[in-house]
């Protein structure tokens, strides 16, 4: 959300029901409601905002496949190729015949990579990684206030947007 290219008016709300109902009514009046920032998940907010479904499950699949491939490669190299192991008293030395013994490690590695990959991706996308400067619009937006971001073309719109926000129940306004 770079302030230099796009201009926003932020309406600060103090009730989740009010902010949820305000989205539809403000959009009807022609305001560009771009985002709502909330300290906790609001039921139905994604639907009201018309957000796309999260793509993190696709990431999870790719990370999981990576973890699985790495684990199988590692086990194949260690226990079959580099140092053939007699597993469970069955000296077949074949990868596919010993596969049951390798499943737990493969499973764990899949889960490890998928879980860590998802968390890191989420933190990156949410700009929450250590060292990243957080975009704090209002000091209480992670506490008990809700922020609604409305995009404007130029400063002449500010007065109108603030009036609309006020009628929809906003308690404070910030323009950046």
């Amino acid at each position: 959300m770079s302030a230099s290219t796009k201009k926003f008016v932020y309406g600060i709300f103090n009730d989740d029901e009010v902010v949820l109902n305000a989205i539809g009514s403000l959009r009807k009046k022609g305001l560009k409601v771009k985002d709502v920032i909330s300290p906790f998940p609001i039921h139905g907010l994604d639907h009201e905002l018309g957000l796309d479904r999260t793509r993190i499950s696709i990431c999870a699949f790719l990370y999981g496949m990576t973890g699985m491939s790495l684990a199988l490669l590692m086990i194949w190299y260690m226990n079959i190729f580099d140092w053939p192991m007699d597993i469970g008293g069955k000296p077949s030395y074949a990868f596919y015949k010993n596969l049951p013994a390798f499943i737990p490690v493969t499973f764990e590695s899949t889960v490890l990579c998928a879980a860590h990959g998802m968390v890191i991706t989420f933190l990156l996308r949410s700009k929450l990684l250590p060292g990243v400067e957080p975009n704090v619009i209002h000091p209480r937006m992670a506490d008990d206030h809700f922020v609604m971001a409305i995009q404007i073309k130029d400063d002449s719109e500010i007065a109108n947007v603030e009036a609309q926000l006020k009628s929809a129940g906003a308690v404070e306004f910030i323009n950046k």
């Binding site: 039921h43 139905g44 639907h47 479904r53 597993i87 469970g88 008293g89 069955k90 049951p100 013994a101 499943i103 737990p104």
Partner: protein, 401 residues
């Protein structure tokens, strides 16, 4: 109507098996009745979990669950008849000579299990199971029906208290039930994981039956309160517990395969040598199919896809139950038949009997499915499809995920 035709097919198949002295008769009856009982039992279990966990979303699907549980007394009656008349064809340990040290058939391992596997204690347990399960299944339904007339919260609280007691009893009875009905078929062998493995199998079968009942009712224009959000949730249960079944199936197999101890590995040797196709098919149908097809969110929300998957899961677990019960019980049935014909003296140890899937087996299964469908329809038709005074009905109607 369809259920009636299916029951007639089943009855004809069973009569034909008795008339032709089909070796697999009792095994087929036990296996199909076990699935039938498992579906009713786990429906009651799932219902009890909904009360104890104070679940809101499931309020609209409680009536189908209650109706499914009402099959328990019928399943119990059939089970007692099967074991009373055909127990010697199914359970090796029912031969009293095995416990007699003077007899040539004396079996030290089985004799060591006589504290648990003796007829008196066995029958006490079997009767206790069905009395307990039937009592709770009827109680949940009775309170739910009474709540339609009056105090929804009061009857819900009564059911919650009963459900907590039922869950404790279920944990014990389900474990011992799986040893009694299924594991003791392979009398010498035992697995400490078996109760969980059996539970995961019958639970996912039960969820498949629930999915089928709900989607069928919805496709026929009933139960319109069920939205795609509810379908998504029961679809998730079917998906998740298919994975859970795979986890336990693999746990049991992998540990035994790895340690390679003769007295344990015989169980899987028998299944790999003589039932390899079915044994592998149960794994692929019950794991790969739901895993791939039900993975996405959209798939769990499509009515006919879910209905189709419930049938696939049912077939998969039918095969799994077949592989659990038939190999062991057919050996007992084979011994029994050979002794009856006095073949042992001539041929020494009789060759082991191998189960197969033919028209008789499928016919028996169709009969049991028909019976289950008939009972579910019968009890569903006696009450409104939705419990209107359920305290969480509003939440369930507005359920959105």
């Amino acid at each position: 109507m369809i259920a009636g035709v299916m029951m007639i097919i089943g009855l004809l198949a069973i009569i034909a098996q008795f008339a032709t002295h089909h070796e697999q008769t009792w095994s087929n009856l036990l296996m199909n009745n076990f699935m039938f009982m498992g579906m009713a039992l786990c429906a009651t279990f799932f219902l009890a979990v909904q009360y104890v966990a104070e679940v809101g979303w499931s309020a609209v699907i409680k009536r189908p669950l209650e109706a499914m549980g009402q099959s328990l007394p019928v399943a119990g009656g059939i089970m007692i008849v099967i074991i009373a008349l055909g127990g010697h064809h199914l359970y090796h340990w029912m031969d009293a000579e095995l416990f007699d040290p003077k007899s040539p058939k004396y079996d030290e391992i089985i004799a060591g299990k006589s504290g648990f596997l003796n007829p008196t204690f066995f029958w006490i347990r079997v009767v206790a199971y069905f009395v307990i399960w039937t009592y709770f299944a009827k109680l949940f339904r009775k309170n739910s029906m009474l709540s339609d007339e009056g105090d929804g919260v009061g009857y819900w609280r009564k059911n919650r208290a009963a459900a907590a007691k039922f869950l404790v009893l279920f944990a014990v009875t389900e474990s011992t039930m799986s040893w009694d009905f299924v594991m003791s078929v392979d009398t010498h062998w035992f697995s400490t994981l078996f109760a969980w493995y059996t539970f995961s199998g019958i639970f996912v079968t039960s969820i498949a039956a629930l999915v089928f009942t709900v989607t069928y009712l919805k496709s026929k224009g009933y139960l319109q309160e069920v939205t795609e959000h509810h379908l998504h949730d029961i679809g998730k249960f079917m998906f998740a517990f298919s994975i859970f079944w795979t986890y336990l199936w693999f746990c049991q197999f992998m540990l035994i395969w790895y340690s390679n101890i003769p007295e344990e590995i015989t169980y899987f040797m028998l299944r790999q040598d003589h039932y390899r196709g079915l044994w592998l098919a149960s794994f692929f149908i019950n794991f790969i199919t739901p895993f791939v097809i039900l993975m996405t969110r959209d798939a769990k929300r499509k009515l006919y896809l879910l209905m189709g998957m419930s049938i696939v899961v049912f077939i998969g677990h039918w095969i799994d139950t077949f592989v659990m019960i038939i190999p062991g019980s057919m050996i007992t049935a084979g011994h029994h038949a050979a002794e009856g014909a006095a073949h042992v003296a001539e041929h020494g140890e009789a060759a082991i009997s191998i189960g197969s899937i033919g028209l008789m087996e499928i016919g028996t299964t169709i009969g049991f499915i028909g019976l289950f469908m008939y009972l579910v329809q019968h009890y569903l038709s006696k009450s409104p499809l939705v419990a209107k005074n359920h305290p969480m009905m509003e939440e369930s109607l507005h359920h959105a995920i």
